[in-house]
């Protein structure tokens, strides 16, 4: 019978009533109340079974008996419990070690945290980018603790969030002129990208196998393409073999400027201040702004007429 097993909520209500009222209600009344109240059972509670006499308590067996099914994490109902548990754990660590001395970000050891996809695999939950970034922020703050004072627990926790392998172990080798005396430089501008092979020579320039004049009709484009050599007065000292792809004429010319400047730096690193000042090794990262819906161009709005 259902009323034999009142829910714990009903029990709670009952005990409340018992404590608050002086008169003890009759058992009949409480039974009817409980009958009407009983509309659901606890998630953790089993289906109602006929009451039976309690067996003898066997403590060995009691501790082996299942009692409830409960979530394994207190953040069960958030939908991403493992991620939130990690965040809370890291926040607790951060608060605990807030007073330890820190170093500047540049001096902190370089750590390769999980990438977003790897982290999603790690926690097994679809974590959005924004939330993962906030977690990485905490990791970076913990990482900034002065390296010789990092507590062991912090070190262990941080190690759990590291990418497998160490991407920072490979030091990138500074580029130099190769054994044939060629310096290779790459440059981009707008949609164009250029590769320049620069060797010592007499000032011959070939662009995509054609002469400079055929590649660039405008004198201005030719001048801007060779600007790196021109501003350093090295036009008659080097030969350049240039491959340039994509974009329009101006973009190609200015991509060559950048590539040529970089290649020249490999031959003569001392020219850097001149090239920098002449703008030959300054990257122009501007690209075409995308068109937006509701606009005629990227920002232009349709004309508005009153009537």
């Amino acid at each position: 019978m259902a009323w034999h097993k009142p829910t714990s909520l009903a029990q709670a209500m009952q005990s409340l009533r018992l404590t608050s009222t002086l008169t003890k209600p009759s058992s009949q009344a409480s039974r009817t109340t409980l009958n009407t109240l009983r509309t659901r059972t606890y998630a953790t509670e089993a289906e109602s079974v006929p009451a039976a006499a309690a067996p003898e308590i066997n403590f060995g067996a009691f501790s082996q008996k299942p009692a409830r099914i409960i979530p394994s994490s207190p953040s069960y109902f958030s939908g991403s419990p493992r991620f939130i548990d990690h965040v809370l754990q890291l926040e607790a660590l951060q608060a605990k070690h807030a007073s330890l001395p820190t170093v500047a970000t540049s001096e902190a050891p370089r750590m390769a945290w999980f990438k977003l996809a790897q982290f999603r695999d790690f926690v097994g939950e679809p974590v959005p980018m924004k939330k993962y970034k906030s977690l990485v922020k905490i990791l970076q703050r913990l990482n900034r603790i002065q390296p010789d004072m990092v507590p062991v627990e912090v070190r262990d926790t941080l190690a759990a969030f590291l990418r497998p392998g160490n991407p920072y172990a490979v030091e990138n080798v500074p580029r130099t002129v190769d054994e044939n005396g060629r310096a290779r430089g790459k440059g981009k501008r707008k949609e164009s990208s250029a590769v320049v092979q620069l060797v010592e020579g007499e000032g011959e320039v070939l662009v995509n196998g054609k002469s400079l004049v055929e590649a660039f009709k405008r004198v201005h484009d030719r001048e801007s393409a060779l600007w790196a050599l021109r501003c350093t007065q090295r036009l008659d000292k080097y030969n350049a073999w240039i491959t340039v792809r994509g974009g329009g004429v101006t973009g190609q010319a200015e991509a060559i400027t950048l590539a040529l400047g970089r290649a020249l730096l490999l031959h003569e690193p001392g020219l850097k201040p001149i090239l920098r000042k002449a703008g030959a090794i300054t990257v122009d990262a501007r690209r075409v702004e995308r068109k937006k819906p509701g606009h005629v161009k990227a920002r232009k709005m349709p004309t508005w007429v009153k009537r």
Partner: protein
């Protein structure tokens, strides 16, 4: 709005009869005359200005702007041919440019002097009319910025000068009567046409007979009259007016030479020719009557290439001089022309008798009996770019580089490409002729030549820069390795800051 109730007496006012009211656009207000007469008879209230414009249906709502009227400049339109004349006008002198002190002229001595390499030599003033007559100058070659026309003595020029000496039978290794055939190519602005001009100038200096076709396109563009030669198979076509124009040019340019030569052959086709007339008279027959111009041209050609007089005409025979034949824009002759045959098929350029005559000069072994120079230049400014010519020129270059035509490196037309077999056959035969065809590719100036050229600009007052090796090599690189046309563009660019900084 006035109410139809009188609020003092609370009685409903009788409305005015319709007929009494003036026809107006105002809303009809029904009330008694003693209450609101003024309202009725007042003028209808004027609407506000902007609401007067009636909005039509289906009108666009976008911004309406007044269209600009095309400015009417008034006056009459330019006369027929005026604008073309303006376009084709050739100005050879700029009185504002500085006179260059000690500028040498092109002469039989200077044109072979390798010490003068890189200097700009002026063209002799009396020769300019001759050069104008053969249309050696082209409008956009920058002649108009200098005081007087002059050309750079570059390596190719000196070599050509030596060639002229050889063929004329002078100098160290004289080879009188030699025929040299060349096709001149090169990038745009590399000086091909000016090279022809230099050749013509040298031809005039050496008293050669100079026959030129300044623009090969004129013969195939369908602008001039043409007629089929009866009985020819395959059908050939003559262009009388173009022929007479050529005769005019030739006579104007070589008047002195032609006047000194007498007719030495029999010309049965030309009945009106007197036996003792000069070649000038012969040619004049042609341009007075275009109908006979082709026959006159053939007669003149026979006279100029004659090595010995015909029987009975030995009296005044003088040995004929070598000839210079210069054609500019060869590629136009390697495609089908704009002319149509009787059954409305395009006529191939090789079927035009006039064109065929000049092309056969390339092919035949000793086409110029008295020796001479054939210079056929391609052009890159108005170029039909036929595939067959490209292959043929590649083959020519390969042969010059010593690649035999059985070797796999010898250029072949691509499979299924529509290379014109007539063109390939023509040039193949020309390669194997007794005096082989050569390919001369004009490249850029060397740095020294470029320096001389730029100094010429500076001395003419066009360029206000200190010309040193640094500067020259910079310009040399910018002009794609000394392409003279590009150098000229760089030289004439006026720098606003240059005068301020100096």
């Amino acid at each position: 709005m006035a109410s139809s109730w009188c609020w003092n007496c609370l009685s409903r006012l009788r409305p005015t009869p319709r007929a009494l009211l003036p026809p107006s656009a105002t809303p009809r207000i029904s009330s008694a005359p003693f209450h609101s007469t003024a309202v009725h008879y007042a003028q209808p209230a004027k609407k506000k200005g902007n609401s007067l414009t009636v909005v039509k249906h289906r009108q666009s709502t976008s911004l309406r702007r007044k269209k600009k009227k095309v400015a009417d400049r008034g006056g009459r339109p330019p006369a027929v041919g005026e604008r073309k004349a303006l376009r084709k006008r050739i100005v050879l002198s700029n009185p504002n440019a500085l006179e260059i002190e000690g500028m040498l002229e092109l002469s039989p001595e200077t044109m072979v002097d390798s010490r003068l390499r890189g200097t700009v030599l002026g063209l002799p003033v009396p020769m300019i009319d001759q050069l104008r007559a053969v249309q050696a100058f082209k409008p956009k070659q920058g002649w108009s910025i200098f005081r007087r026309p002059g050309t750079v003595l570059r390596r190719d020029t000196i070599e050509m000068g030596r060639l002229f000496e050889q063929i004329s039978g002078e100098g160290d290794d004289a080879q009188k009567g030699k025929v040299v055939k060349k096709i001149v190519t090169g990038m745009k602005g590399s000086g091909k046409t000016v090279h022809l001009l230099q050749a013509m100038a040298m031809g005039f200096l050496k008293k050669w007979a100079v026959v030129t076709i300044p623009d090969a396109r004129d013969l195939v563009s369908g602008d001039t009259a043409y007629a089929a030669i009866e009985g020819s198979n395959p059908v050939q076509y003559v262009q009388p007016s173009a022929t007479s124009a050529l005769l005019t040019r030739t006579v104007d340019a070589n008047r002195e030479l032609l006047a000194s030569l007498k007719v030495s052959q029999n010309h049965p086709a030309l009945k009106m020719l007197k036996p003792s007339s000069t070649l000038e008279d012969l040619a004049k027959l042609g341009f007075s009557d275009p109908a006979v111009s082709w026959k006159v041209f053939q007669a003149l050609w026979a006279e100029l290439t004659a090595t010995a007089p015909a029987a009975g005409l030995e009296k005044d025979f003088q040995p004929r001089p070598p000839m210079l034949v210069a054609v500019d824009g060869l590629a136009h002759w390697m495609v089908e022309s704009a002319y149509r045959s009787a059954d409305y098929k395009p006529i191939h350029a090789h079927d035009l008798a006039f064109v065929n005559h000049f092309l056969s000069l390339l092919k035949d072994g000793d086409s110029l009996k008295n020796g001479g120079l054939l210079l056929y230049a391609t052009s890159s400014s108005n170029n039909p770019n036929p595939l067959a010519l490209k292959i043929a020129l590649d083959r020519l270059a390969a042969r010059q580089a010593g690649i035999s035509d059985s070797s796999p490196e010898y250029p072949q037309p691509e499979a299924y490409s529509k290379a014109d077999p007539r063109v390939l056959d023509l040039l193949q035969a020309a390669e194997k002729a007794a005096s082989p065809l050569e390919l001369q590719t004009l490249s850029g100036l060397t740095r020294d030549e470029a320096r001389g050229f730029m100094e010429y600009f500076a001395r003419s007052g066009l360029l206000r820069e200190i010309i040193n090796d640094q500067w020259v090599s910079e310009k040399w690189s910018l002009s794609g390795g000394g392409i003279i046309g590009e150098l000229e563009k760089l030289g004439r660019r006026v720098r606003a800051t240059a005068s301020a900084s100096k």
